[in-house]
C-alpha cells in the first residue's frame, strides 16, 4: 500500500497540531464554530474554536443546536453556511474606474459630449491568503466538484473562483451521524469521503473523547501528515470506522429517486403539484442561498459622488423577479414558474447542462426553508400521480 493511502492514528494532540501546522503554512483556516445558535463556518485558530460537545437537530423548516453527551468535535451535520461562501463569495468587486483629470468637451457628430479619461482597476481575483477548509463533508466535496464544472469547466473559467479554488486545501471528515434532512445516500454523494480531499479524518469516540484516524489524499495532505508522528490504524479502529459509516448510511430517513427524477420532472412540467407548492412558497430565496451548488449571480454597476464607478457581482436567485427580467417584464412572473425552474434545473436540466444532478442531498434547502418545503416530498408527490394536466399554462 502506498504511504499516502494508509490510514493512520493521530496522536492525542494531533488535531491541535494539524491546525497549527496548516496555519503556519500561511493558510486562512476556516472551520465549524458555534455562533448565534448554529454551527457556522468561520476562521478558526485552535481546537477550542470547534463546536465540541454540540450537535444539530434538523427538520423541514427547523434547525436547533443541542448539547451532546460526549465531546465529539464533528458530531453535527451541516449548518446554514457552505464553502461556496469562501470560494464564490456573496459579493465580489469585478472592477472599478476612477476619473483622471478634468472632463473635456469633444465633438460627437453635430453635438459635443463631455469625455473623461478613466483609470481602470480590475478587482483582485486572489484572496490574501489561500483557504484551508476543516470538517468538509462528503456531500460538500461533491458540491465543490459541481461548482468546479460550472465555474471552471467551460471555455471561460471564472478567475475569481479559480484562484480561490485551486489554492484551497480540504481537510474532510467522514460523517458519524446523519441529520433527518440528509439524503446523500440516494444521491450517491456520501456519507463516506472518497475523493477530492487533501486529508480525510474519521472521528472515533473513546469514553466520550474524540480520537482521529487520518488519510492523505494529495501530496499537500501527505506532507502535512508526515509532520505529525503517528502509527498505522489498528484493525479494530478500521472496523469501528467502517461500522460508523454503515450506521450513518443506514440511518438516513430521506431519499430521492435520483435516476428517475430527471425524466419524471421533464415529463410533468404542467403537473398540478406546481400550483400547490407555489401556494406555500414564499419566493424568499433561502433555499438557493443555502444550496452549496446554486451559483446564480447578478452584476450591478454603481456610481459614486466622486465619479468612481464600480461593477459588483452578487449572489442572486431564480426566485427573484429581476432575475428573469428582460425588456418589458419578468419571464418567470409567477412563483409557480420560479419554483418549477429551481427544481427542474436542479434535478433535471442540470444533467443536460453539466452532466450531473445539481443536488448532492445535503438537505440544507429543506431545513432553512421558513415554510419547510421539502424537495424530496415535492418529487414524491409528482411521482405518486404523474401526468400533466391537459391545458398548458406557464
Amino acid at each position: 500500500m502506498k504511504k499516502r493511502e494508509e490510514v493512520r492514528t493521530l496522536p492525542e494532540d494531533g488535531l491541535e497540531r494539524l491546525i497549527g501546522l496548516v496555519r503556519s503554512r500561511g493558510y486562512c483556516l476556516v472551520g465549524p464554530t458555534l455562533r448565534d445558535g448554529a454551527i457556522v463556518y468561520d476562521e478558526i485558530s485552535a481546537v477550542s474554536d470547534l463546536p465540541a460537545g454540540w450537535t444539530d437537530e434538523q427538520e423541514a423548516g427547523r434547525y436547533r443546536v443541542k448539547a451532546r453527551e460526549d465531546a465529539a468535535a464533528f458530531g453535527y451535520n451541516l449548518g446554514p453556511h457552505s464553502w461556496k461562501r469562501f470560494l464564490y463569495p456573496p459579493r465580489t468587486q469585478l472592477w472599478q474606474t476612477t476619473p483622471t483629470g478634468e472632463a473635456t468637451l469633444q465633438p460627437v457628430g453635430a453635438a459635443a459630449r463631455a469625455v473623461q479619461e478613466l483609470d481602470f482597476i480590475g478587482g483582485s481575483t486572489t484572496p490574501d491568503r489561500p483557504f484551508a477548509f476543516l470538517g468538509v463533508r462528503a456531500c460538500e466535496l461533491s458540491a465543490v466538484a459541481i461548482q468546479d464544472r460550472v465555474l471552471m469547466g467551460g471555455a471561460f473559467p471564472d478567475p475569481h473562483y479559480q484562484s480561490r479554488r485551486e489554492s484551497a486545501l480540504f481537510i474532510a471528515v467522514n460523517c458519524s451521524q446523519a441529520a433527518a434532512t440528509c439524503f446523500c445516500v440516494s444521491m450517491g454523494t456520501g456519507p463516506e469521503v472518497t475523493g477530492g480531499f487533501d486529508i480525510v479524518l474519521t472521528e472515533l469516540l473513546e469514553d466520550g473523547s474524540p480520537a482521529y484516524l487520518a488519510r492523505a489524499g494529495s501530496a499537500a495532505g501527505e506532507s502535512l501528515l508526515a509532520q505529525l508522528e503517528h502509527g498505522p490504524a489498528s484493525p479494530a479502529e478500521l472496523d469501528r470506522s467502517r461500522v460508523q459509516l454503515d450506521q450513518t448510511a443506514g440511518s438516513m430517513r430521506r431519499e430521492l429517486a435520483a435516476d428517475e427524477v430527471r425524466g419524471l420532472l421533464a415529463a410533468n412540467l404542467e403537473h398540478p403539484r406546481w400550483d400547490d407548492v407555489a401556494s406555500r412558497c414564499l419566493a424568499c430565496t433561502n433555499c438557493t442561498m443555502v444550496c452549496p451548488t446554486c451559483f446564480c449571480s447578478t452584476v450591478e454597476d454603481h456610481t459614486s459622488l466622486d465619479g468612481t464607478a464600480t461593477r459588483t457581482r452578487s449572489w442572486d436567485s431564480c426566485f427573484s423577479l429581476d432575475f428573469s427580467y428582460v425588456h418589458g417584464g419578468s419571464v418567470r412572473a409567477s412563483t409557480r414558474a420560479r419554483y418549477r425552474q429551481w427544481l427542474t434545473h436542479k434535478l433535471s436540466t442540470w444533467h443536460d447542462q453539466f452532466d450531473s444532478s445539481g443536488c448532492v442531498g445535503c438537505g440544507r434547502c429543506i431545513a432553512w426553508c421558513p415554510v419547510g418545503i421539502d424537495l424530496t416530498e415535492e418529487v414524491r408527490a409528482i411521482a405518486s400521480e404523474p401526468g400533466d394536466r391537459q391545458e398548458t399554462t406557464s
Binding site: V40, Y63, P90, C281, L282, N286, S320, D322
Partner: protein
C-alpha cells in the same frame, strides 16, 4: 465652478412624518461635502434657511398626505419637480399614522386631543403616489442611507437605481446571518418584506418588523404558519403587520384576513 451654476437643484419636502428620513440625508456625514459639490441644495429647511426658487431637478418627498392643504401642496411640488422621489414608509405607504385608516379618525383623535373639533385633517393617511405621479419610491422606516445615496447618485448619472425588491432574507443570507426564525423560533417578517436595511434586525437576533414594506411578491398567507409555529396568535399577527407599513396593500389585507378568519 465659474459662470452659471449648472449643478442640479435638489429640494427636500416634508408632509406628515417624523423627519427621520430627511435627516438620513444629513447622516451622510462622509459624503455630505461631495454631495454639496454635486448638487445645489435648493430647499431643505432641516439643513438651511436658504431657499432657491423652482423648478427643481430632484425633489425628495417625505411624509404622507393627511390634510386638504397637503393635497394642494403636493400637486404644486410635482409641477415644479423634474424628478420626484418619495422617501420612507410615510410617503410610500401612509406611515404609522395610517392606523387611523383602520380605527376611524374621529375615534382615535378623541383619545389623543382634548378638542378634536379643532382638527382639520382627512380621514385617512395616504401615500404620495395616490395623489401625484412618482418617479421612484424609496422604502424604509427610516430609509437606509446607502440606498438614499444610491438613488441620488443614480439620478446624477442618469442611470436606474439599484434598489432590489426581493426579500430581506436575501440580505440576511448574503451577510451570513443565521436565520432567527428557523434556528431560534423567533417570528420574522423578512420573507415578505423588501430588502434595504441589510437585515438589520436579524443581525441583532431579532425578527424583521417589516419597516421596508411588502417585497415584490409577498406570500403573507403562507408565512402565517411559521409565525404561528413561533407562538404568534392571530391578534399578534394583526399587530405585527399593523405598524409602519400598515396601509401597504399586502400588509393591510393580511391583517384583515387574520382579524376576520
Amino acid at each position: 465652478m465659474g459662470g452659471r451654476d449648472r449643478r442640479p437643484k435638489l429640494a427636500v419636502w416634508k408632509f406628515a412624518s417624523c423627519d427621520g428620513c430627511q435627516l438620513t440625508l444629513l447622516d451622510c456625514e462622509d459624503e455630505l461635502l461631495a454631495l454639496g459639490d454635486a448638487v445645489r441644495i435648493a430647499h431643505f429647511p432641516e439643513a438651511t434657511r436658504g431657499r432657491l426658487r423652482g423648478p427643481y431637478d430632484l425633489s425628495l418627498v417625505e411624509g404622507s398626505i393627511t390634510t386638504k392643504k397637503d393635497v394642494a401642496r403636493i400637486a404644486q411640488i410635482r409641477r415644479q419637480s423634474r424628478r420626484l422621489v418619495t422617501i420612507g414608509a410615510c410617503a410610500t405607504a401612509g406611515g404609522i399614522q395610517a392606523l387611523r385608516n383602520f380605527a376611524g379618525q374621529p375615534g382615535l383623535a378623541g383619545q389623543v386631543y382634548p378638542e378634536p373639533a379643532y382638527l382639520d385633517a382627512l380621514a385617512t393617511s395616504t401615500p404620495i403616489a395616490e395623489h401625484v405621479p412618482v418617479d421612484f419610491e424609496l422604502r424604509g422606516c427610516p430609509i437606509d442611507k446607502r440606498q438614499l445615496l444610491e438613488v441620488i447618485t443614480a439620478f446624477l448619472a442618469g442611470r436606474r437605481p439599484q434598489v432590489p425588491a426581493y426579500s430581506v432574507c436575501v440580505e440576511c443570507k448574503l451577510a451570513g446571518q443565521v436565520c432567527v426564525m428557523v434556528a431560534h423560533g423567533t417570528p420574522c417578517l423578512g420573507p415578505v418584506t423588501q430588502a434595504g436595511c441589510g437585515a438589520l434586525c436579524p443581525r441583532f437576533d431579532r425578527g424583521c418588523y417589516g419597516c421596508f414594506g411588502p417585497m415584490e411578491t409577498p406570500n403573507t398567507a403562507s408565512l402565517a404558519s411559521p409565525l404561528a409555529a413561533c407562538g404568534l396568535d392571530r391578534g399578534a399577527i394583526v399587530r405585527l403587520y399593523r405598524s409602519f407599513n400598515a396601509a401597504a396593500p399586502a400588509f393591510r389585507d393580511e391583517s384583515f384576513r387574520n382579524e376576520r378568519d
